[in-house]
Amino acid sequence: MSTLTQMREIVAMNLRSIPDRLAPSLVIVVGIAGVVAVMVALLSMSAGLSATLGATGRDDQVVVTRGGSNGELSSFLAIGSATLIRQDRAIARGPSGQPLASGELIVITEVPRPGQSTGANVTLRGLGPVGFALRPDFRVMQGRRFRPGVQELMVGAGAAQEFEGLEVGNTLSFRGSTWTIVGHFSSGDAYDSELWTDVGTLQGAWDRSGVSSVLAQVGSPAQIDAMKARLTADPQLDVDVRSQRDFFSGQSSGLNATIGVLAGIVAVIMAIGATFGALNTMYSAVSARTREIGTLRALGFGAAPVVASVMAEALLLSLAGGVLGAVIAYVVFNGYAVSTLGGGFTQVAFQFAVTPPLVLLGVGLALGIGFVGGLAPGIRAARIPVTEALRAN
């Protein structure tokens, strides 16, 4: 028989006998499923967060904040500055000639978290008159838009789901006055975690005169650099100008890095544990089959087919574990809605996203563990002297 035929025969025979070594074989499957499920789940959290914050960023919109501020929350632009920024010539004009730039004020409010006495920080954003027009993905899910000059709020879909008491028709009390929730909106990005109202109303209620940031539509992304140069050179202004995409990815990078490090550490340690488990299983599988292997070698089977058979068993089991783990991660976590602290010290609600690349990564890790776990035992199996192997019991 050729080596290849030998290999095929011995691998098939070996795989058929897996059910006889069921419990030890399951060690590989379960151990690896655990590793893969945890790693995929953690990375899907990061992927979901990126999807939410990444979707927020458009290349043809700019966010102008006070120079040196690390987010909208710590930024403040006086009325004069905001007006000056709005008049920049890179900013596109609306149908009636007004610049498509929205001076927006954000403040933090606390809304209750289910079952806890301390609230969660949620952004309350005051939008300028063209604020809706600057968000093409904005949709009213329920109720209606807020009216300027009246203390009315719209609630983002993510916030409405994560926090209590944000149903349409409810009221919230801020600073001694009552605000009515008149609608829910969806925009498919980080704004979904916010409460929205009119900027003038918010300024009045919070006793503020300026805004936190100016969001503006530019004619084309290429104009941003020139606009940035103009505004930063203006002695009357002290501002940072970034495309909206850059602004939001800057907000999420810290959190993403933290999750990435966490996922890495957890996956490495768990993978080490699972590798030892796999080695254990494969060594005992080899020792249980010592006589069988000896017989095969005596019949003229080569060393390579023997190694291949052990490797095939390890890889098949780890593949099963990897797929099982990815399925568990998908079933349990895909679309799982959570909220955590975002860049601006307020809550950002997002959903876990178990994406195909993550599943592939998980299965790849599983096969890696299977390879390492099968190699050494396979070589040992091939090296047992035939005479000794035949005497084993």
Binding site: L26, A41, S74, G119, S173, R175, S284
Partner: protein, 410 residues
């Protein structure tokens, strides 16, 4: 104790398997220790604060500073010892490479509300009288090599000066310690004199105090006093929310939200995986030795003793793995940078201890019971069958058609 040799020789019978199982256990417990250390950060971080201090914040959010004019009104509430105010400064040292919390406070009021911070009398006096003075905790001073007299430039991302610049210079006038080991460990923050802070910032922001810290005579009175303070500002534009300091700190950590849940889910997955792995390996170890166990019984070991022997073996394995894993986890937390204040404290060790016991019972009891029930005649003849767990598994698989029922009974 006299059976220790027997237990050890049981473990050393298959050195490779024991070593591999042990290493898996070490990996698992390292992870368990680390994750629980993170988790204890979420759970009990504020335990030490007690209830003798309340924090009064704006009801909408603590980020909304309260005006200074509330101070005398709060002081007027009966049962209050001292009131201080504190504003988060948000300064970055060396362009963001060094980050530590700083708060702008009134020095004398700080001293009255936080008697836990200990510093020489002279330093306190200097802090009161130096407009641009700052005091730093011992931990922080050691970290950056600061001494009294040094000037620390901080770049605030929140507060600009009236002239538009963001760089504030603070002169260190004192280094404070905690009154005990626990407080000393937490002395890694900086207090700034409110004087320069308020005078320096833009006129529109002047007169804002931040949050108020209220020290009360009797912790049992906390709920009444908190309600009394909040009542004073009801329906004003500066509505307040007063809660215990512990609750306030917890609120910060809870902002991280569902991360704690995720950590616990991972711990569960890890625990389940090691449970399975160790369980199978223990089962195998006992099955292989069944004739030997029968010999022990022949020699006069009671059924019960044999059971304990097997259980002790499982315990020894789990304990060794857990100890090594926890030591690893502790070493890892020690080398972590100071912005990850994760420690394997007592609570984490207790959780690890409980895990060892639970794990021992779950993985050790089934083979131990098998060993106890062994009939000498059968065992010596090698008629042993499989473990109850394996039988169960095989039946389950047979039911879903993976393997014939006859074979399952074979």
């Amino acid at each position: 104790m006299k059976y220790l040799g027997l237990v050890l020789s049981g473990l050393l019978r298959r050195k490779l398997r024991t070593a591999l199982t042990l290493l898996s256990l070490v990996a698992a417990f390292t992870l368990l220790g680390l994750l629980q250390a993170v988790n204890s950060l979420f759970g009990g971080a504020a335990d030490f604060l007690g209830a003798s201090r309340l924090i009064t914040q704006a009801s909408t959010s603590f980020t909304q500073p309260l005006p200074m004019r509330l101070l005398p009104q709060i002081e007027g509430v009966p049962g209050i010892t001292a009131v201080s105010h504190s504003q988060f400064f948000g300064g970055q040292f060396q362009e963001g490479r060094g980050f530590f919390p700083q708060f702008a406070v009134n020095p004398q009021r700080l001293r009255d509300t936080y008697p836990e911070w200990v510093m020489e009398e002279d330093a306190w006096r200097d802090f009161v009288s130096t407009q641009d003075g700052a005091i730093v905790g011992r931990v922080l001073a050691d970290q950056y090599g600061w001494d009294v007299g040094d000037v620390v430039p901080l770049n605030s991302f929140i507060w600009t000066k009236a002239d538009g610049s963001r760089t504030w210079e603070w002169r260190i006038v004192g280094i404070f310690d905690g009154k005990d080991a626990e407080w000393s460990e937490r002395a890694s923050l900086m207090y700034l004199n409110y004087g320069q802070f308020d005078e320096g910032r833009s006129p529109g922001a002047r007169g804002l105090a931040g949050v108020f810290i209220v020290r009360i005579d009797d912790p049992n009175d906390a709920a009444r006093i908190a309600a009394a303070i909040d009542e004073r500002f009801d329906n004003s534009s500066d509505e307040t929310k007063t809660q215990s300091e512990a609750e306030f700190q917890l609120g910060f950590i809870r902002q991280l939200g569902d991360i704690g849940l995720i950590v616990n889910l991972i711990t569960g997955a890890v625990f389940f995986s090691i449970l399975f792995l160790t369980g199978v390996s223990m089962g195998q170890a006992v099955r292989e030795r069944i004739p030997e166990l029968a010999v022990l019984k022949c020699l006069g070991f009671t059924d019960r003793k044999v059971m304990w022997l097997v259980l002790a073996e499982a315990f020894a394995l789990c304990l060794l793995g857990a100890l090594a894993g926890m030591v690893m986890a502790s070493l890892v937390t020690l080398v972590l940078p100071p912005d990850f204040p994760v420690r394997t404290d007592l609570q984490v060790w207790v959780i690890a201890g409980i895990s060892v016991v639970v794990l021992t019972l779950l993985v050790g009891l089934p083979p131990a019971l098998t060993a106890q029930r062994l009939k000498i005649v059968d065992a010596l003849a090698g008629r042993t069958g499989e473990s109850p767990f394996e039988r169960l598994l095989r039946r389950a698989l047979a039911r879903i058609g993976l393997r014939g029922e006859q074979e399952a009974h074979a």
